[in-house]
């Protein structure tokens, strides 16, 4: 069989394409860098969130946090109390002090689901339990708001003791 130039050209083209593709794949690169936060119920599942909360009674929820920044991240979740119409935005957090805070270092691609228990000491209708995601920025050496938050509207009530009054 004679060495056909056309066959050689086709083979060469296939090899060129395959090699360039493999070389491009072997160069390390990071995709879009992002973090994520999610709110889960007491059993760490989506849905069936508490709607009514009693003042002074402990409430447990689950927080899911994920890191895809391409590097380890020191993340902090700050729980604050907001209301309907008073929520954080992508750029500004709530201007109130936090009720609960939890920190965690996550490696790139790692996520964590952690229970968070807190007690509310004020009543209100449509109060927003806001969970903001903060990140320790090593370039400035302080905590910065990551622009992500989740919230849950609840009605917080107080239990009034009944004295058992009877007629007659």
């Amino acid at each position: 069989m004679r060495f056909d130039e056309e066959v050689f050209a086709v083979l060469l083209a296939i090899v060129v394409v395959a090699c360039i593709f493999t070389a491009a794949q072997s160069i390390p690169r990071h995709g879009e860098a992002f973090t994520a936060i999610g709110l889960l119920n007491e059993e760490c599942k989506i849905g069936d969130y508490p709607r009514y909360i009693v003042v002074g009674e402990p409430v447990t929820l689950c927080i899911y946090v994920s890191n895809h920044l391409g590097k380890p991240a020191l993340l902090q979740v700050r729980m604050k109390i907001g209301s309907r119409g008073y929520l954080p935005t992508n750029t500004t957090p709530l201007n109130t002090t936090y009720v609960v805070v939890l920190e965690r270092v996550l490696d790139d691609g790692e996520n964590v689901t952690q229970k968070i228990t807190f007690v509310l000491n004020r009543t209100g209708t449509n109060l927003a339990l806001v969970f903001e995601l903060w990140r320790f920025d090593t370039s400035v050496g302080r905590w910065v708001y990551d622009g992500k938050w989740v919230h849950l509207y609840v009605n917080v009530t107080r239990v009034v003791p009944s004295w058992g009054l009877r007629r007659g």
Binding site: L11, L12, P72, G141
Partner: protein, 172 residues
């Protein structure tokens, strides 16, 4: 007689005042001592709280320092899983805030400091080796088509001749 009785009165009066003063001083001393006894435990408690807060702040700043190095090493591709696990342990202990937890957190951070320092020293060498490996792999892959262009026809011909080595050419 009258003078003598007057002197006696003065003497008795002075003695009485002296006794009252002594009693007052005693009462004052008792008051001071009891106040001090009350104040010492309060002061000790406050001191302990201040100490714990200072230690907590100090440990937090150490956590931040260590994390800065770990983040740098992790972003370069070094395996920092163990360090992250220990740092998370220390953070949890610091959050608990009691004396024992703070001591344990300090011990963990002391151990981490040495390992982080080692990683920090190794980082330039790791980066060099990683870059060399990556670029060598890319260069090798890109040289395959060039090598194939020059070598494949020759290799094919060599094989072709070898396969037909014992063939005889016949004249028709």
């Amino acid at each position: 007689m009258r003078d003598r009785s007057r002197y006696a009165d003065i003497f008795i009066k002075t003695l009485r005042e002296l006794c009252t003063a002594v009693i007052h001083v005693k009462i004052l001393k008792t008051c001071v001592v009891s106040t001090l006894l009350l104040l010492i435990p309060v002061a000790l408690c406050s001191l302990q709280k201040v100490w714990a807060k200072d230690l907590r702040d100090e440990l937090w700043s150490r956590v931040e320092e260590l994390f800065t190095v770990i983040e740098k090493a992790g972003s370069e591709g070094m395996d920092v899983k163990e360090l992250i696990r220990d740092l998370n342990k220390a953070i949890q202990l610091i959050r608990r805030g009691d004396e024992e937890s703070l001591r344990r957190a300090k011990a963990i951070l002391d151990g981490l400091s040495a390992r982080v320092e080692e990683i920090s020293r190794e980082l330039p060498r790791y980066r060099l080796v990683r870059d060399l490996c990556t670029y060598s792999r890319v260069a090798l892959l890109l040289s395959i088509p060039v090598a194939m262009y020059f070598l494949l026809p020759r290799a094919y011909l060599r094989l072709w001749y070898r396969y037909r080595r014992r063939w005889l050419v016949e004249e028709r």
